[in-house]
Symmetry: D2
């Protein structure tokens, strides 16, 4: 039995963690911490959980967690770094869902997150939890920095093609469309129904805090400079990310061969699906899949990549559980995909 | 030239007023007061107005309005009653968009609005601005209490049939579905996209502050007691109200005859449309119409009424302008409906 | 191993059946019949199933199903009655998702479904599959007529109160709001995004084909006449039904006592949840729950009931699987709810 | 009085034309042709027009239009070319809303529209109706090919910068997001609510029929080759287009200077608005504006352009009326913008 707790359990990602973890027989979810809702039953905040899980949210108390195996932290940026060192010092593993341990360069926090990092020593220790790419490091990590939702949708299609030299590391253009749950559970005029509905709005063009995260991973993977323009936009859907990436082809390959290159790269991965037609967001909502499609525009020497994920699952709670599975030596898809059937 | 100002001009109803008033040649919109946005240009808050109206929002200052003819007040409940007496004392007419002057019985404010009314003397003076019903009183009023959005959609179909004795004043069941703009422009978790989208939620069942407003008007009209159950619900649309009313028929009439009874009652009204099929909300959005449909269920002796309005126009700013037209002896539809064409 | 097949597997209810049945270890889904998509892989029609279930849709062929235990039929009205007798004659059990075997009175098919029933002898044999009410009959049935989505949301809150005499069987008013998937998977102008979005439209007022279904069940349960007015409306959401029922109280009870009456009635049911606040549709989407809320309006002697379900699960495929569980002597919630936790 | 008719008046663009034209005092809308709805009153098909315009749709009859000044044609691709020559031969001016007369190279019709053009001689005569760019040619045209919705949103931001040499004519990446009304009024599974809602789907990547239209205009304007990748996608909104264009800067300019360059170029235009923040689709819905925003990414030498329009107005019916205004020597904004106010 894996003994665990969630810190920050009443936000949207925390709620998804709650649902996944509470449904598993091999996991004991001992505490659900949520200071803002401490004392309330889960079902008061998340009525859909009524009669499924009847725990109370509690104030976070470091003294309670001593005997746990792993803790999931789902707090706003800048909050996590205050408590994670204490948890690690108890010998408990941590999967942090926020950005506090993703970047290796402390100054990036000042530039993009607007805070000074108080535990820089952990930045070199933390393992970036992009499951399909860093499986082995994750398996041995104490602190996993779970990737951001946009970066997950961007890195998974880009890394194989960059590593294989199929596309150029420069002149990459990324347009990502995100559902509103990506902004978190909060009172906000910008996220009110009347502002979002029947609307589309780009924001933080090239300034988004996920820019250094994407850059750091891509440059590490190819050991070279990478340049891209990233344009996120908010669309009137609750869940999901739709990412379109336009790249310069460096090697003239047929689409079929590029798909093969993905197959070789992601051969063992449960959650990467290669798609023959442009994928719909709804094909992946409520799943941990990342669907990838490609289309060559040979006349312009361009390769267009499209990926879709559920921002709360593969982009947050789902990938966190995938990482926990890796940490505890379980199949990555344990608890996600039921049985494999192969009728043809 | 009618000289006017809006107090509370940056909310959703205020914005609609801005658009209607600024488009009219016969109106001089002298000030747009909005304390929360004072100093900003309208287009900073309402980008759709850029290059159409380039005024600045100002802090409300009673000293500025002395020479105006009429003022529109669009403030949260309990705020309007603090400033309206001062405006009236200058001899300026007021159309109040909120609830502060709608109810005749002061105690109702304590029960439903949770505040004590500070200017009870005005409650008997104010005229309820349901344009089609109180045209003559409105024409002579100093203070017009513009009706609530739900009551407008409910009173217009009910009053003619109650007055004619076609339906019973008891056992009335009212289900109203409202778009989210009805809740006003504010930061609110309940009105966030992620909570409203793909969802429906009933609220304030039989406790809504519009209950005493509806009751007061119906009972005045038939000079008798009326009883009804009112169930409002929030639906994932931005604008519009869809009201379904189920009543007991007192006189067995054919549907055609009941339509005729409406035609006789509303003969001169520009904004009442009788519909042969259940009306869509989208048929009236961005208009000042109230569409009414009826269906007799003779087996059960029931008459079903359906009405739809745009909550921000006929349910707020549109009816306010209609009332201003009445006050200034203009055709009710002035500024709304361009020209009448009758090709057949 | 329960051997089964779905006939009509590519519609919205069929798709949900596919997902539930293919995820269960104890079920062998041998065939997925869908004449309109015969020859195609499931993932071509339902991309979200890619890498989860790789069967092909086939043309229905009675010769293939001889050794099955149970067949799910999800066909348009009037189609099912043509093939079900043949399946039953092979000794195979049938759960029919459509309306063809729900009504006992053959003439009702002519009036409400506009076809003449070709197998009237089966109408008296079929068992109405409202799981919580007819558990014992279902357990022994050969042909289960799975209830309609609206009736499920209406009957579950009404039956206990009518049987206990708490509410009157007359003067019942029912307003149901349905998501668009309830209309099925088809090309239809009325169900196009541009027509449904930002809109609400009532339809088939008191003429809906679910009216005789509701009436038949209620009258059977109380062995007396029942009268109600039913007003369905289409709302811009994909899944879910929100039903509001206004009834006359016959016995003056406190809300708490009426909740207790439900608890007594539904004591053993996994899927009925009593709610203290008006339920949201999103609380039950993607689940098999029916959430019920009540509010007494003592001044008017009215009791308001609100229920919400997922129209494709508790209103179709979920209840069908619940019925299969009953048939095969499994816990009703088998395959739906993982484990029960009771921390307090 | 301008005497006119609409051919294809019951589609979404036709409906907008109907509303604009019928509201103008200076226009006599003599006929509304719509073969599929011939004989019906406008209000039967467009209930929102009830009591505003009570004409009947008629079958198109060339004999009826002899005395008209101008005709608007809003028919599916390939239909318009069959009737326009006949109309022109009567000396009547034509504004064609479809693609039949936009392309100069007949073979492009075979490649992108999949039909052979039957009146190639008109392709050289027709004037491309991008109002802000081709004002003078439009003023003297007999046949105006009204631009496509995507091209309008793409050409208006690109042309000034390409002509000024600020950006490179190569390596342009265009992502356009379109509301569903852009697909026209039809029965279509792909445009059904259940498929579009909570979803995003790219389509026709680099194959869209608007690609040759965009290319032809840009290359004519700079008299040189242009290369771009165009990725359209469908988003769950009814109206509006949001276009993001990423270009290579050729001259290092400050954002402020590029805005100035737009101001110089579009100095007299009523419908171009330069925006300081990323524009929302909702800022332009129900207007004829095209809002343009730009952001320099100097590190990557990129210039990001964002434009938004209402696809049915500036992208169709609105621009058509703007072109009619030009043809009849009226101010471009006549009938759109009421009065200009300049309080500061």
């Amino acid at each position: 039995l894996i003994r665990t707790a969630i810190i920050g359990a009443s936000g949207y990602s925390g709620m998804e963690l709650l649902k996944i973890l509470s449904s598993r027989e091999d996991i004991a979810l001992e505490y659900v911490f949520a200071n803002s809702n401490a004392g309330k039953y889960i079902s008061e905040i998340i009525p859909s959980m009524q009669s499924e899980l009847d725990m109370r949210f509690e104030n976070y108390d470091a003294g309670l967690i001593n005997s746990l195996d792993i803790v999931f932290v789902s707090l706003p940026s800048g909050e996590s770094m205050k408590i994670v060192p204490g948890i690690l010092s108890k010998g408990i593993k941590v999967i942090d869902m926020g950005g506090d341990f993703r970047l290796k360069e402390p100054l990036m926090y000042e530039q993009y997150y607007k805070f000074e990092h108080s535990h820089r020593e952990l930045l070199s220790e933390s393992v970036y939890g992009l499951s399909e790419i860093y499986h082995d490091e994750i398996a041995n990590a104490d602190l996993i920095a779970n990737p951001g939702c946009y970066p997950t949708s961007i890195l998974l299609p880009l890394i194989p093609l960059l590593k294989n030299g199929i596309i150029s590391p420069h002149n990459i253009v990324i347009n990502s469309l995100s559902g509103v749950s990506g902004a978190g559970k909060k009172e906000s005029f910008d996220c009110s129904f009347t502002e979002v509905n029947e609307n589309i709005r780009a924001y933080k063009i090239s300034d988004h805090q996920h820019v250094p995260e994407i850059k750091q991973v891509l440059e590490k993977e190819i050991n070279n400079k990478v340049s891209f323009t990233f344009i996120p936009a908010l669309v009137p859907i609750t869940r999901g990310i739709h990412t379109t990436i336009i790249t310069d082809m460096q090697i003239q390959l047929k689409e079929h061969d590029i798909y093969d290159s993905y197959k070789n790269f992601y051969g063992n991965s449960s959650f990467i699906r290669l798609r023959k037609n442009p994928p719909n967001i709804k094909d992946v909502v409520n799943t941990n899949f990342c669907d990838i499609y490609l289309k060559a525009d040979l006349k312009n020497n361009k390769l267009v990549l499209i990926s879709v994920i559920d921002n709360l699952l593969k982009g947050a709670a789902g990938q966190a559980v995938q990482n926990m599975n890796i940490l505890f030596n379980l199949p990555e898809s344990f608890g996600f995909i039921k049985k494999e059937k192969h009728y043809v």
